[in-house]
Amino acid sequence: MYSESNEKKLDEIISHYPVKRSAILPALYIAQEENGYVTDDDIKYLAKRLDMRINEVEEVVTFYTMYSRKPIGKYKLQVCRTVSCMLLGAEQITEHISRKLGCKLGETTPDGRFTLVEVECLGYCDLAPVLQVNFDYHEKINTESLDKIIEGLK
């Protein structure tokens, strides 16, 4: 499941800490990149690799919002809903995407391309409203720029 280059990356990360377990958060990102979500096999494998129990890994995965235990769309559209973005129309942004894609909050489009979610503050308050697509930030968005962003995601 782990390619040779990922194994190398993991070894490098583990070497940063006196305790292997400290590598769990960065390691989970590598795992998630493979399938788009964290699989049961990933959890078993990482437990062995980082000297953790399976439930200890599971406990970490479910605590942090950036990991998913279920398959999600290729593009995760994350609309910031918190106060500064809200003041500048975050709700309308969510509605617009929802209508455009025909998918409700928390849902994935049938073609598996998009998952729409609302997230809490993304640290772009002065550049509100903001949308994060996977790891890419799009700042000061409006309905027009949104259409372009979404059409650009193939």
């Binding site: 006196p18 106060v83 002065d126």
Partner: protein, 426 residues
């Protein structure tokens, strides 16, 4: 105005390259610290500077560093808190993406002062591209001998790593951060012992905010007294504010401590759009009490003056709201944030934030019951100072202050006759 933190912001990221950084005075403070000063002397300068922690609590930095024992059986650590998740705050983001070396230089000086051979930058996972910028900058610093073994020919070794968080506001709280860095859920630890004595892997650990550490090189180059002189007597230096919401030019602005809030809004940010009037300001990130226009009018931005109008400087996230804003709605939004981010460890916060939101939610649908406003107030009271960590307080204070100051916006959701009118208008 003197720019301590943002002097390279105009280069729009070119200073990420170490050569540009060096050409603009970079790593000179480090040279000075290693060649002319001792750790004792550095600590003295930082104490003199009256620099206070910029992560939210405003604790004097020099005093905090002084808590670290000189001798320790376990390794000492320095942690740069780059979790930046306080609603209204996006300043550390620009400090890192426009001038990463400044912060790294500050970290090396801090680590040298404390005798810490390893440091971690704990950065929120969403800032992935900034994590990459930092990793590149750190690699360059190793190449030039500013990191690694025997830095600048001294006997001091230091290694620096970037560690990503994964979407949990609570991990910005320093002890939850330590748990997270140790590979666990981010639940806060009981204090004392404080991290400066028992921290990461049980070793003495200093956690400082990005902005705090980014100010260190200037202090070393120009002296603690010069830094202090930029601000007020008790709050030295400058502060970087993120201004968001209803202003013409939202953004990050560095001004001296003690700068009038209205100048920040009207001059730096070009005032409020459409000539509308100011209604309210949250001066220090969503965790602090809201203030009204009259209070904002007499508020200077330093720790003491903001406290005098009943709020806090916090993280420096200034959220501006004009007269069109419904404070009930903004407070409901903020309550949702704390409900979502409560780590679930203690009952007052875990249950209290949910209950608060439930009441907000029914009031939003104009299904509020008589007594609901008092219920909100009372619920907040049951959370305030009764929770395990300050997140609970941060959830409670905005609710109480909003009710105190903008009662009308809450009443509209309750009073039977008014409810009918507003429901019809919505």
């Amino acid at each position: 105005m003197t720019k301590v933190l943002t002097s390279r912001f105009d280069l729009k990221g070119k200073a990420c390259d170490i050569d540009v950084y060096l050409k603009t005075g970079g790593y000179q403070a480090l040279e000075k610290a290693f060649k002319e000063l001792t750790p004792e002397k550095i600590l003295e300068e930082v104490k003199k500077s009256a620099l206070r922690g910029r992560g939210g609590a405003g604790f004097p930095t020099g005093m905090k560093w002084g808590f670290v024992p000189k001798e320790s059986k376990r390794p000492k650590y320095l942690i740069n808190n780059a979790d930046e998740s306080e609603p209204g705050t996006g300043k550390d983001r620009d400090l890192m993406r426009y001038d990463p070396h400044q912060m790294i230089e500050g970290m090396i000086i801090a680590a040298y002062t404390l005798g810490a051979n390893v440091s971690y930058i704990y950065i929120r996972g969403e800032y992935w591209y900034i994590k990459e910028i930092l990793e590149k900058a750190i690699a360059q610093a190793y190449q030039r001998g500013y990191l690694g073994k025997k830095i600048l020919g001294s006997g001091f070794d230091h290694d620096m790593y970037v560690h990503p968080g994964a979407g949990a506001y609570i991990c910005g709280e320093e002890t939850a951060l330590l748990e997270s860095l140790e590979g666990k859920r981010g639940h806060p630890r009981l204090k004392p012992p404080f991290p400066a004595v028992v921290g990461l892997y049980g070793g003495p650990t200093i956690v400082n905010n990005v902005e705090t550490l980014a100010a260190v090189p200037w202090i070393i180059l120009n002296g603690g007294d010069a830094y202090r002189a930029l601000g007020t007597e008790k709050s030295g230096g400058t502060k970087l504010y993120t201004v968001s919401g209803h202003v013409n030019r939202p953004g990050n602005y560095e001004v001296p401590l003690g700068y009038p809030l209205m100048n920040l809004i009207n001059e730096e940010c070009g005032g409020i759009p459409g000539g509308r009037k100011l209604k309210a300001v949250i001066p220090g990130g969503s965790s602090v009490p809201i203030i009204n226009a009259a209070e904002a009018g007499k508020c200077n931005m330093d720790y003491e003056s903001v406290a005098a109008v009943g709020s806090m400087l916090g993280s420096g996230g200034v959220i501006v709201m004009d007269e069109s804003t419904d404070i009930f709605e903004t407070t409901r939004n903020i309550t949702h944030f704390y409900m979502h981010e409560s780590c679930g460890w203690c009952t007052p916060c875990r249950e209290g934030t949910r209950w608060l939101y439930k009441v907000f939610d029914r009031m939003k649908r104009y299904e509020g019951r008589p007594g609901d406003i008092e219920l909100l107030y009372d619920l907040a009271d049951k959370i305030l100072f009764k929770s395990f960590c300050p997140l609970g307080d941060a959830a409670a204070m905005p609710v109480q202050s909003a009710i105190d100051k903008f009662r009308d916006d809450f009443d509209r959701r309750i009073k039977y006759d008014l409810v009918q009118i507003h429901k019809a208008a919505d």
